[in-house]
């Protein structure tokens, strides 16, 4: 039987958990006191490194002319593959890649090969940043260039069917029932192609590393990463050091969105540079380098075939994806996952095709797979609704999955029907004219669209430590990351409720490998796993105090059974007779304890005997281990106004309603949903990196030319959450909302454009060019 305590048992009414509190780190941020990775400027002798990148996308380095660069004052070193300190392991072979957990199966500066434009070819270190930059400009790299392949669309590109994608984490072929036969027999058949532009994460803070060798075998790096532990593992493995010898610190992060989920080349290059010059070295990627330094969402085409009955019941879904990958890795976002699970459909088939090109490896980008996958399925569902004359919400209800269609497991909780209903009410959906192109505001065409969102709760586990002082202060720690989204704040709230202390008495610390290990902040796991860890650590601390109390003759709880005592709002008391008990401070003073410490583990699927098994399970087996499928669900509603002559699309209203388990802070949660929706609106309407097909090099690698939404693009947004009590998910009942917020967004926008204009555009982003060029159906 499971004995793990759960938050809603010990705290049937939450105190500060869930409240829309301001960020506890907000003041430090606006005062400039929050230190980011590239701001540790007081290290003794700090030097500055600049990466010199390759102009061409394919070729071989034949030489370097360092004369002019070395003559510059202040230059300390020019490192190339010829003279950079050697590593114990590189990701250049499969074993090395796996051991390192590297995002890319090639590390630059290990040989003379050039595989992609923007690949680092040298690191220039100088005493000031400006000197390093100028010397890098003077450094001449001689190259024998080859003709590159730019993408899967290149006529010379060879397509192949990978058995596995994403470093073996997902299958290249998925089959459930006989989808081909079911499609052939379906009275309603839709076949459509969807394309997605290359997207870059573009966080405000670029990738940055400050490396400090405190001793020949002891390294500290201040790193812009979504996970200090993963970076520690990568760097220590490459160096041949024990993890214990490498400390990674990330106190603040200026956004990540997936691109900081792994240690990219610049991190280890900085560490090697610091070794070479014998001084602490700092390196920050430039904005153009951010386009070739930390991955991207790959260029891709999806073909979705959908078979249905005349009354709109799905009978078959067949999905094919073709995308570009690097010369070494079989990376593709697993778009098919969400298409497989979103609706009740008896058959399903998915396959992936890849083409190797001279590009760096693409990587997780907010809702990897779910975002572009939902664009395909949610656009097609809209088409189906339109074709059959059924309301878009009704078609989704007709295909509502009461169980997980992929494995038959029950959902741990699912409030999607409530999300549809509440969203429709907030938006005024019932007033929607079912006709396309029939609503106007002056010259502008008005359209309403909606889409379903879902994101899995990935299994993960983490740890935390809580120390309570007799004077009523507490420090709680976990080596988690705050991407800027509110981790500091929500974890403080959880600790406060668990301890029964006010916000100003509890400090939460994170972002350091010296603290208890936490998972990467990615895949929306941080909120659930870390909050559960914090909660469990406090429970551990109470258990220790209860043990002291029952042995203390002076305690009202003397000789009580441990199992009969509970901790409530900072008081230890008998469950059966709450008046019998005492506050922790009295007990600790009497026992002469200055403080007490607890450790806890938060994990996935905590409602089970085999919670540990669920947390440890292989991704594909996790639902089985937990006996439930765990997902967040939601719905987005969008109004657009389209200029029929100019092709411009503006989002004018937005409603998102989600059921995502316990919401830890109404304000930061709302910000997450707004942020993800804006991220999705960017992908829908404007984001796209253009790769020249002859040079395989980007032509708009700057934030002036790669457009992300500005305030003027975004209307007032309405966000609500459905109250969910999920007893299965983890000790806190938290599902995570970092990614579901952008799932379905681009489809909601495209569906609204379809409703406004009768034009169905399946190529993202929906720019004026495409709107003008499309024909109304």
């Amino acid at each position: 039987m499971d004995t793990e305590p759960k938050f809603f048992e010990t705290n049937p009414t939450a105190g500060v958990v869930g409240k829309p509190l301001n960020r506890v780190d907000g003041r430090d941020k606006v005062m400039g006191r929050a230190k980011y990775a590239a701001e540790y400027n007081n290290l003794p002798g700090l030097a500055h490194a600049v990466i010199k990148t390759s102009d061409v996308a394919k070729g071989r380095i034949t030489g370097f002319d360092t004369t002019a660069a070395m003559k510059q004052p202040g230059v300390l070193a020019i490192l190339t593959y010829q003279n950079i300190p050697k590593l114990a392991k590189t990701p250049n072979d499969a074993d090395g890649k796996k051991a390192i957990g590297a995002p890319m199966g090639y590390l630059p500066l290990t040989d003379d090969q050039i595989h992609y434009a923007g690949q680092p070819v040298a690191v220039v270190v100088a005493d000031t940043l400006e000197r390093a930059q100028y010397a890098a400009a003077l450094l001449k790299v001689q190259v024998a260039a080859d003709k590159p392949i730019a993408s899967y669309e290149d006529p010379k590109a060879q397509l192949f069917d990978p058995e596995k994608i994403q470093d073996g984490k997902a299958d290249g072929h998925v089959k459930r029932g006989d989808a081909q036969a079911a499609f052939a027999a379906a009275p309603v058949q839709l076949t459509h192609k969807y394309t997605h532009a290359i997207n870059h994460h573009s966080p405000m803070e670029p990738g940055a590393t400050t490396a400090h060798w405190e001793a020949p075998d002891r390294l500290t790096i201040y790193e812009s990463t979504q996970g200090v532990t993963r970076t520690q593992k990568s760097v220590s493995t490459m160096l041949g050091l024990s993890a214990e010898q490498v400390r990674v610190v990330t106190k603040y992060l200026g956004g990540g969105f997936g691109c900081k989920g792994s240690a990219w080349p610049h991190t280890i290059l900085t560490v090697q540079a610091a070794k070479a010059v014998g001084r602490p070295v700092k390196l920050a990627l430039t904005r153009p380098q951010m386009f070739t330094g930390m991955g991207h969402r790959e260029d891709q085409t999806q073909t979705l075939r959908l078979g249905a009955t005349k009354d709109g019941k799905l009978t078959a879904l067949i999905h094919e994806k073709t995308s570009t990958t690097s010369p070494w890795d079989n990376y593709a976002e697993s778009n098919s996952k969400i298409i497989n699970m979103l609706y009740e459909c008896p058959t399903f088939e998915a396959s992936y095709q890849l083409a190797r090109a001279n590009v760096m490896t693409s990587t997780f980008t907010r809702a990897p797979g779910e975002a572009p996958g939902s664009f395909a399925i949610e656009s097609s569902m809209d088409d189906l609704a339109y074709q059959l004359g059924i309301d878009p919400i009704e078609i989704r209800l007709r295909n509502y999955a009461e169980k997980d269609p992929t494995n038959g497991h029950p959902w741990s909780s699912k409030s999607l029907k409530q999300c549809y209903a509440r969203g429709a009410e907030l938006f005024g959906w019932s007033k929607r004219n079912p006709k396309n192109g029939a609503t106007r505001d002056g010259r502008l065409l008005v359209g309403w669209g909606m889409a379903t969102a879902s994101y899995p709760v990935h299994n993960s586990q983490g740890t935390a430590r809580a120390r309570l002082y007799a004077d009523g202060h507490a420090v709680v720690q976990s080596g988690a990351t705050d991407l800027g989204t509110g981790t500091y704040t929500v974890m403080t709230q959880v600790a406060c409720d668990a301890l029964g202390l006010p916000m100003d008495k509890v400090r939460f610390e994170l972002g350091d490998t010296k603290l208890p290990t936490a998972p990467n902040s990615g895949g929306s796991v941080a909120a659930g796993t870390v909050s559960s860890s914090v909660y469990m650590a406090v429970q551990d601390l109470w258990q220790k105090l209860i043990k002291v109390a029952v042995l203390d003759k002076k305690s009202p709880l003397y000789r009580a059974k441990i199992a009969d005592v509970e901790a409530k709002a900072g008081r230890l008391q008998l469950k059966s007779d709450p008046k019998k008990g005492e506050g922790f401070a009295d007990l600790m003073k009497r026992a002469d304890m200055s403080d007490v410490e607890g450790n806890g583990q938060g994990r996935y699927g905590s409602g089970y005997e085999d919670a540990q098994a669920a947390a440890n399970a292989d991704q594909s087996k996790k639902d089985e281990a937990a006996h439930h499928s765990m997902h967040s669900f939601g719905a987005h509603f969008c109004e657009v106004k389209v200029d029929p002559d100019l092709g411009t699309v503006r989002v004018t209203r937005w409603v998102s309603v989600h059921g995502a388990g316990r919401i830890l802070n109404a304000k930061t949660a709302r910000s997450q949903i707004i942020g993800g929706s804006i991220f999705g609106i960017g992908a829908a309407l404007m984001e796209g990196t253009v790769r020249d097909q002859h040079f395989s090099r980007y032509t708009n690698a700057s934030l002036a030319d790669y457009h992300i939404p500005v305030n003027a693009d975004i209307p007032e947004m309405t966000v609500e959450f459905i109250d969910e009590h999920d007893p299965h998910i983890n000790a806190m009942g938290v599902k995570g909302i970092g990614e579901i917020s952008m799932v379905g967004v681009s489809a909601a926008v495209a569906n609204a454009v379809f409703h406004a204009t009768g034009k169905r555009v399946r190529e993202l982003p929906l720019t004026p060019e495409k709107i003008l060029g499309a024909k109304a159906v």
Partner: protein
Amino acid sequence: MNNFSYTQASSAKEATASRAGTAQSAYIAGGTTLLDLMKANLEEHAQLVDINLLPFKGIEQTADGLRIGAMERMSDVGEHPLVVQNYPAVSESLLLAASPQLRNMASIGGNMLQRTRCGYFRDAAFPCNKRVPGSGCPAIAGDNHNLAILGVSDACIATAYPGDLAVALAAFDAVLTLENAKGKQRRVPVTEFYVLPGRTPQRETVLEPGELIVAVTIPNTAHARRSTYLKVRERTSYAYALASAAVGLDVQGGTIRSARVALGGVGTKPWRSPEAEKVLTGAPATEATFRAAAAAALRGAQPHDDNRYKVELAQNTLVQALLAVSS
């Protein structure tokens, strides 16, 4: 960015004189164009001469029209009551440009000399005839979705001036006052200030080395008073135009007495369209007339693969702008 020396000039004479001493020298006003180019190693200057203290200031009525000093900032000019009242298209072209931060720094003179957003020009790793004459133009067979369809050559198809203000100034017959090192001033209409790329896309204007932009003067006319600037982009703000139109009409009794039309985002230079103006002048102010004018304006268009959409977009932009001023 290379090392450079920095001098501050307080008069035109001082500015031209200090510059004359060094071959590789540039004036710096707001720096919003110049520093971006230097940081990307696209331009190298051994010396920067700061002209922010030059007395090229003032926004005032003269016999020739409204005279605006070259050192006035975009934000101040865009919000000036005389500009808002008498030249709405000019005011709009300024306030729809860039971002508030940039407009607060950027000068009118510097605005005239901003450089193309062609991605190949902006990245020294690519060949580019404009940056390195004779190296080739990859945009023609490559990514040209934001480049020009009018005035293009085999050497270059960039919108050399990607911005807005000069489009409005070209429409309303504005004249630049220039001053050379000898202190000699000359007046050049904005329409003649920019030159077509031809075989020398590196040459974009008739400005001589060392010559300063002192001021711009816009005649006071009926069509300028009834004018507008329509800018189309997929992002609502802080983006260059995919297409834009500066138009002004003097309509009396339903008939167009005089018309001014210039297009942005589609020409290798700010694109004044006498063809469209000819169709408009003397014709009834109707949508049919406007469509005919738009067709005339784009008749000579030479689009490439990615920017074919601009032919229709530019025409629709022009029609919408004309409808807006005529209603």
